[in-house]
C-alpha cells in the first residue's frame, strides 16, 4: 500500500529571534487523516511551528508545505482549508458566540444563508454553547471561550484542524468532549494538535512528535514509541528483608537494573529486565524463596507516554529521532 499522502511536510524549518532559536531544522511529516499530537515543554517551539504553518510568522530558513502548497507563497489557499484554535483564543468582545461563528463561517462560505445559519446552530450544539449563543463574549469564562474556539475552528469543515492546546482551561467533561470532536473529525480531516496532556495523546493520538528546545527529538506512531521505550519492567511491593531481595535480583543475568523506593510500611522494588519470559518464570519465585518476605503486589509495569516524554525531555536515552 502506498504511504498516505502528507498533509504537512516541513524541511529544515528554522526560526531564529536574534539570539534565541525558537525552531531548529524541523523535519516533520503529518499524514492525511491522522491525529497528530505535538508535544513538548513550554517554549519548545510548538506554537512557533503552528504559526509558521499558518503564515503568521515567517521562517528564517527551511521550507514547509501544507496540502502541497508552499506556506509562504500560497498561504491564503492553505488557510482556506484549515481550522485553527489559538492557544489562548480571543474574539471580538462586541460579538456574541453565534455572531462569532457566523463571522468565521463567512470567510469560507458566501451562501446559501440557510446553510450557514444551520451550520452555526450545529456548531453551537456541538460545543455545548446553545444556551449562551446570544450572550456577548465579554462575559465568557476561559472554558467557554475555549469551547467557542473549538467551534470556530471546525465551522468551515476544515481538511486540516490545527489546535494549539485544545484542552487547556477545560474541565474533565469539556476535555472529553474535545477528544470526542477530534475522533469524530478523523474520518474527514487531519488533526494536528499541541498539548501538555499526555493522557489525551495516548487516548486519541495515532502519531506524535516531541519537540525540545526547538528541536524535534522524537517522531513516530504512538505504539512504536511506546514499544521502543526501553524494555520491560516490573513493580513489586514487598515487606521484610527488602535489601536482601534486591541483592538476589541484582545477581540475575536477565535483570538490567533494580530500584528500591521505601514506602511507609513497605517498599516498592522496580525491576527492569532484558528477558521478560525469564522474569515471568523466575522473578516471583526468587522473591518468595525468602519465607519472611511478604509480596503485597506484583505487576508488569507498562510504559506510559509520560515516561517517554519525561525521559526524552530530560535528556534520557531517546536522543535521536525514532
Amino acid at each position: 500500500m502506498p504511504p498516505p499522502e502528507p498533509v504537512i511536510q516541513t524541511r529544515g524549518l528554522t526560526k531564529q529571534y536574534k539570539e534565541v532559536t525558537a525552531l531548529a531544522d524541523l523535519d516533520l511529516t503529518v499524514h492525511k487523516n491522522s491525529i497528530f499530537g505535538f508535544l513538548g515543554p513550554n517554549g519548545a517551539g510548538k506554537t512557533t511551528t503552528i504559526k509558521t504553518l499558518l503564515g503568521l510568522i515567517r521562517p528564517t530558513a527551511g521550507s514547509a508545505t501544507v496540502f502541497g502548497h508552499d506556506i509562504l507563497k500560497d498561504s491564503l489557499q492553505i488557510r482556506a482549508r484549515v481550522g485553527y484554535l489559538p492557544q489562548d483564543p480571543r474574539f471580538y468582545d462586541y460579538m456574541t458566540a453565534r455572531e462569532t461563528l457566523d463571522f468565521t463561517a463567512r470567510f469560507f462560505f458566501k451562501g446559501p444563508e440557510t446553510a450557514i445559519k444551520d451550520r452555526v446552530e450545529e456548531t453551537l450544539a456541538l460545543v455545548g454553547l446553545e444556551s449562551k449563543a446570544d450572550r456577548p463574549i465579554k462575559g465568557f469564562s476561559g472554558g467557554e471561550r475555549q469551547r467557542l474556539g473549538i467551534g470556530q475552528a471546525q465551522v468551515n469543515y476544515p481538511d486540516l484542524l490545527i489546535l494549539d492546546e485544545p484542552a487547556a482551561s477545560l474541565d474533565p467533561l469539556g476535555r472529553r468532549d474535545v477528544l470526542a470532536v477530534m475522533e469524530r473529525l478523523r474520518k474527514y480531516a487531519t488533526v494536528f494538535y499541541s498539548t501538555h496532556i499526555l493522557d489525551d495523546v495516548q487516548r486519541v493520538g495515532d502519531t506524535i512528535a516531541i519537540l525540545n528546545n526547538g528541536r524535534l527529538v522524537a517522531q513516530g506512531a504512538v505504539e512504536t514509541l511506546l514499544a521502543g521505550s526501553g524494555g520491560t519492567s516490573y513493580a513489586v511491593r514487598i515487606r521484610g528483608d527488602v535489601a536482601g531481595a534486591k541483592t538476589r535480583l541484582d545477581n540475575q543475568e536477565w535483570v538490567l537494573a533494580t530500584q528500591l523506593e521505601n514506602n511507609r510500611d513497605d517498599a516498592t522494588l522496580t525491576v527492569s529486565v532484558s528477558d521478560p519470559e525469564a522474569a515471568e518464570a523466575h522473578l516471583l519465585r526468587l522473591l518468595l524463596a525468602d519465607e519472611e518476605l511478604v509480596v503485597k503486589d506484583f505487576r508488569r509495569r507498562t510504559y506510559e507516554l509520560e515516561d517517554i516524554f519525561m525521559e526524552i525531555v530530560e535528556g534520557g536515552r531517546h536522543g535521536g529521532k525514532q
Binding site: 510568522i57 491564503l76 474574539f91 471580538y92 462586541y94 463571522f103 469560507f108 462560505f109
Partner: protein, 268 residues
C-alpha cells in the same frame, strides 16, 4: 473542504480576500454597539454646544469669525478623539491576539487594514463630522441667522473630514509599525497638539511647506490670515490654495500603503 458540498465557497484569494466580511464586522463594532450614539452625543454636545455658547455670548457674530471656529472645534477636537478611538484598532488586536486569529483565516493583511480604515472612516464621518456638522449648519442659519449655502457648508465639512481621515490613516499606520500602544497614541497626539509649535518651526524653514500639510485644512492663519481652508469653503470664497487638500489625500494614500506594507511583514 470535507462535507460542505451544499455551500458556495467565498472568493478568498487576492489582495482583498476577506475584506467584505471584515468590513461588516467593523461596521458592526460601530453601529451595533453603543459607540455610534455615544460619539454622536459627545461631538454634537462639544462642537455645537461651544458654537451655541459663543453665539449666545455675542462675542463672535459674523460668518467670518464663526466659520473658522467650526473648523477648529469640528476638526481639531475630533482628531484627538479619532486618535484615541483608533489607537487600539491594530495594535490592540496585535496584543490581544484577535489579529492572529482573524489572519489565520483566508484573509489578506491588506484587507484587514483597509476594512479597519473604511469602517472607522464611515463611523467618524457620520458621528463626528456629519451629525455635529449638520446641526452646526442649523445653528449658523437658524439660530445665528447667517446666510450660508448648504453646498458650501458641506464642502467645509468635507475638509474637516479629510483632516480627520489623515489622523485615522496615521494612527492605523503606526499601529502596524509598533507593538505598544504608547507610540501609537503618543506620536499623532504630539503632532496634533504640538502643531502650533511645529507650524512655527516649519515656517522658519519655508512658509510654503505648510501648504503641503493637513494643518492648513482647519487651522486659521496657516495659509490665509484669519481663515482656514474649511472656513473659506463654508463662506463660499475661492480657496487660497488647493495644495493642502491634494497633499493630505496623497499623505492618506501613502500612510495607508506604508501601513499595509509594514503589516504584511508583521509577525503575529
Amino acid at each position: 473542504m470535507a462535507g460542505n458540498s451544499e455551500f458556495q465557497p467565498a472568493a478568498n484569494q487576492g489582495l482583498l480576500a476577506g475584506f467584505g466580511n471584515l468590513f461588516r464586522a467593523e461596521m458592526r463594532s460601530w453601529w451595533r454597539t453603543r459607540t455610534w450614539w455615544i460619539q454622536t452625543l459627545i461631538w454634537v454636545a462639544a462642537v455645537d454646544g461651544l458654537l451655541l455658547t459663543i453665539i449666545s455670548s455675542g462675542v463672535e457674530g459674523g460668518l467670518q469669525e464663526l466659520a473658522p471656529l467650526y473648523g477648529v472645534f469640528g476638526g481639531l477636537f475630533t482628531a484627538v478623539a479619532v486618535i484615541i478611538i483608533v489607537q487600539g484598532a491594530v495594535v490592540g488586536e496585535k496584543i490581544d491576539g484577535t489579529a492572529a486569529w482573524v489572519l489565520s483565516k483566508p484573509v489578506s493583511r491588506a484587507a484587514f487594514l483597509l476594512a479597519k480604515w473604511l469602517g472607522n472612516a464611515i463611523g467618524i464621518a457620520v458621528t463626528m463630522v456629519l451629525a455635529p456638522g449638520l446641526l452646526a449648519f442649523l445653528v449658523f442659519t437658524q439660530y445665528a441667522g447667517l446666510t450660508v449655502r448648504f453646498i458650501d457648508f458641506a464642502a467645509g465639512m468635507g475638509t474637516v473630514l479629510l483632516f480627520n481621515l489623515f489622523w485615522l490613516s496615521l494612527t492605523l499606520m503606526l499601529g502596524a509599525f509598533f507593538s505598544a500602544r504608547g507610540a501609537v497614541i503618543g506620536i499623532p497626539m504630539a503632532l496634533l497638539l504640538g502643531q502650533q509649535f511645529f507650524a512655527g518651526a516649519i515656517m522658519q524653514l519655508s512658509e510654503r511647506i505648510l501648504e503641503f500639510l493637513p494643518y492648513a485644512l482647519i487651522m486659521p492663519d496657516t495659509v490665509v490670515p484669519g481663515q482656514s481652508l474649511a472656513s473659506q469653503a463654508i463662506m463660499g470664497t475661492p480657496l487660497a490654495t488647493g495644495w493642502p487638500i491634494i497633499a493630505t489625500i496623497i499623505l492618506i494614500v501613502a500612510l495607508t500603503w506604508f501601513g499595509i506594507r509594514r503589516f504584511e511583514q508583521e509577525e503575529l
